[in-house]
């Protein structure tokens, strides 16, 4: 399969390229970037030195291919989607442009009317754990948000099981600096970011709408910036309708994820890593999901960890590509991570 990446000079584009260059069934034909046109891709992604001779090409020089990854900033590629679909037939957009199905919600969270609401209904939310069969048949796939992915995978099984109050769900998310992208602004300067423990979105984060759309329930999401480059940790507080046992929770999560190649249930009685922790997931496509029962407060604490650039972006996009192409779902995504790291 011949693919191209539009907007490949950022962190997500670099992560896509890292995965695709070693994918046994993929040839990367082009990587576009207007700001870096003519320069080798290794200038933006030094980990790819001596691995590829690819040079960034201008967006306007995009050639036809089998599948196109869009790694542009939010809102920048919407107008060209029809053209991209003609050039490639299949498009996986890693921006937030097509995640929300409801144009009114898009306006509420993004502050503008969606320019192509007709395409919202046609796109598929690209989280294989929920929409695997639809992804196989899709032409336009929208890559989920990183915080949203963690929160959805943590709480959806509880909501589906009907054991928690769906009007009172708190998601507390911590995120590393790379989630802000290459142009994270002054907040990403070392002097501001070093040692940070900052509440950057106590309420109103855009991923709230995605989580509600895909998991259900009414979500109270708060987001924090922490001292890490990669990683999302979502700690979710759900309140039980009736008492349940730890064994009941195990059954709920096993039923949801027992067959999933990239979701591991991590709730262990001993050891240093008893619950999901992003530190050991850097570079992997795993989302580790765990839980704890708080009988005193009638609460389940559901926890999910992932690498925001992998399962939170490029990794899931490649997983979707594998589904679209009929390749084994885990192909090119086998890295197991590092420990210690």
């Amino acid at each position: 399969m011949k693919v191209a990446i539009v907007g490949g000079s950022g962190y997500t584009g670099g992560e896509l390229l890292r995965l695709l260059l070693r994918h046994p069934k993929v040839e990367v034909g082009q990587v576009t970037s207007d700001s870096m046109a003519g320069k080798p891709v290794s200038r933006a992604h030094p980990n790819l030195r001596k691995v590829t001779d690819l040079v960034f090409t201008p967006h306007a020089d995009l050639d036809p291919c089998d599948l196109l990854f869009l790694a542009m900033p939010h809102g920048r590629s919407i107008a060209r989607i029809p053209e991209f679909l003609v050039r490639a037939g299949k498009v996986i957009d890693l921006s937030s442009d097509f995640r929300l199905k409801d144009p009114a919600l898009y306006r509420e969270y993004y502050g503008v009317d969606h320019p192509r609401p007709d395409l919202l209904a046609a796109s598929v939310y690209g989280l294989p754990e929920i929409h695997r069969e639809a992804i196989r048949r899709a032409t336009l796939i929208s890559g989920p948000g990183c915080i949203a992915t963690a929160a959805i995978l943590a709480i959806r099984p509880l909501l589906k099981a009907g054991i928690i109050d769906d009007e009172r769900l708190v998601v507390d998310a911590k995120t590393g600096s790379s989630a802000g992208g290459l142009d994270g602004g002054p907040a990403s300067q070392h002097a501001e970011r070093s040692g940070v423990m900052r509440v950057y979105a106590p309420a109103g984060h855009r991923h709230t709408a995605e989580i509600e759309q895909e998991a259900g329930g009414k979500i109270a999401l708060s987001c924090h910036a922490v001292e890490a480059v990669r990683g999302i940790l979502a700690t979710c507080h759900a309140f039980l309708k009736d008492s349940v046992s730890t064994k009941d929770l195990w059954k709920i999560y096993r039923d949801a994820y027992g067959q999933e190649p990239f979701v591991r249930i991590v709730t262990e009685a001993s050891g240093l890593y008893r619950f999901p922790e992003p530190k050991i997931l850097a570079g992997t496509n795993f989302c580790d999901v765990g839980f704890a029962l708080d009988a005193h407060a009638g609460r389940v604490v559901a926890i999910a960890a992932l690498d925001n650039l992998m399962k939170g972006a490029a990794g899931t996009a490649v997983q979707c590509m594998n589904l679209v192409a009929g390749y084994p779902e885990t192909m090119g995504l086998e890295f197991l991570g590092l420990h210690p790291v």
């Binding site: 064994k247 249930i265 001993s270 240093l272």
Partner: protein, 53 residues
């Protein structure tokens, strides 16, 4: 076949012997084989720990 008392994971007898302690493959709880015929496991006694905090 018996279940882990913590998470409900099915535990196979295999070649386990009485008194053997092993972790549950899912939740990591230390289990002790308390009988072989019929096969039975319980949570192994453990010392309290502060997990480094």
């Amino acid at each position: 076949m018996v279940e882990c008392p913590e998470c409900g994971r099915a535990i196979e007898k295999k070649d386990l012997i009485e008194g053997e302690i092993f972790p549950c493959p899912d939740c990591g709880l230390e289990l002790e084989v308390t009988a072989v015929e019929p096969f039975h496991v319980d949570a192994a006694p453990r010392e309290a720990e502060d997990w480094g905090e």
